[in-house]
Subunit: 253 residues, 2 copies
Amino acid sequence: MISMIVLGSGNVAQHLITAFLKSEMVTLVQVFARDASKINHLIDIEKITTDYLTIKKADIYVIAVSDNAIAEVSNQLPFKSRFVVHTSGSMPMTVLNEKNNRGVFYPLQTFTKNKALHFREIPICLESEEASDYQMLEQVAKSISDFPYSISSDQRKALHVAAVFVCNFVNHLYAQGQAICDANDVPFSILQPLLIETASKIQTLTPEEAQTGPAKRNDTETINAHLLFLKDKNQQEIYKLLTKSILDHGKKL
Amino acid sequence: MISMIVLGSGNVAQHLITAFLKSEMVTLVQVFARDASKINHLIDIEKITTDYLTIKKADIYVIAVSDNAIAEVSNQLPFKSRFVVHTSGSMPMTVLNEKNNRGVFYPLQTFTKNKALHFREIPICLESEEASDYQMLEQVAKSISDFPYSISSDQRKALHVAAVFVCNFVNHLYAQGQAICDANDVPFSILQPLLIETASKIQTLTPEEAQTGPAKRNDTETINAHLLFLKDKNQQEIYKLLTKSILDHGKKL
């Protein structure tokens, strides 16, 4: 068994606590959280501490806090030469205080409060300074997920930017689609199957192969009609830029 | 039984032919196609015609051709006062020649060649001039799909624009995500579960509730780091515009 301590109480911390509690490879020794009330529904209250000085000994310390708090939490740890990882997609491993052995345990998924996830299908990006630490980290990752990857800090940065495109920006296009439906008295739910199929297509086709629509066909008549239809300046701008990008992308291939 | 004739041989026509052949409500009398070789794997060759003058009698004629060919095909039909529909998301019902009774049968999905679809889950947007025609159209729709909707030409136009956002533009963001991965030696497949979860979230949450990421958090440090990371001018522009749009959208709520 590998003993672990999670530091944090937000979305990612909560999903990790749940996954670690189910893992047969992990003993979750303790959770450090400034606000115990956010996680006492997940774990016994006596396993929660709010004081750095009472943090116990463990094989791996997982700092699952917001990006800008990682350095501070790692600085506050009252020990050295232990194995400490963070869970961020965008921060390099070196943001952690070097008094400890450092690593990264980044589950690449969009975590929403109160929405259960099948952790086994979530890729986990792993990195560590020490090879022996990596082995331990990989054991833990394999115990909760079928997709552990060795990913360097540079690769992780690229992945995180790409994830912003395929997740955050995509979701915002859903929001714009809903706004257009709402403004025209059409139920957004009609678009649900399309939206799901658009994502699942990418499991068997490349995005290039899957591309359809007026921009792909260079159907200027429809494109102009759509631009005329859109009254919202911001929606017009998004429509123009992405249409141009699809056209240019097609030319490059 | 409702007798039907499909005019067209492209993606949509092929998927409809397959669905109608399976329907217990429909007799597919004939298919009109300029190029018979594109559909003779789906239907007996003697049921295919390439000559307008040999088109048979049927309850519903379905024109499933590209948008700019619909008017021409409907003009060429050598009969009047029959029921003729098109399958386009972006064209009004009135693009059809008025010598026949007009309607629309628009399956709202992204059709890709050689990729099977569960037609029952595809919403079909219906419209007709005559109430009695509508009933017949709805019977056909219900026989192949669980989601028939009565949608006016104006509503359909809005839906089609919204579909460009949630399907065509979303797919292009996948393409950009893959380009970023490729340029940085990371397998794009790591992003698959994220991409699927991002779409399936929208079945239980609104896009506003589901929004995550640096723009949503107004995390300017990460946003600037990402912009610095992106070397491609076009990717930078997309990143800036969509980040600004997420920020502004958040303020409006």
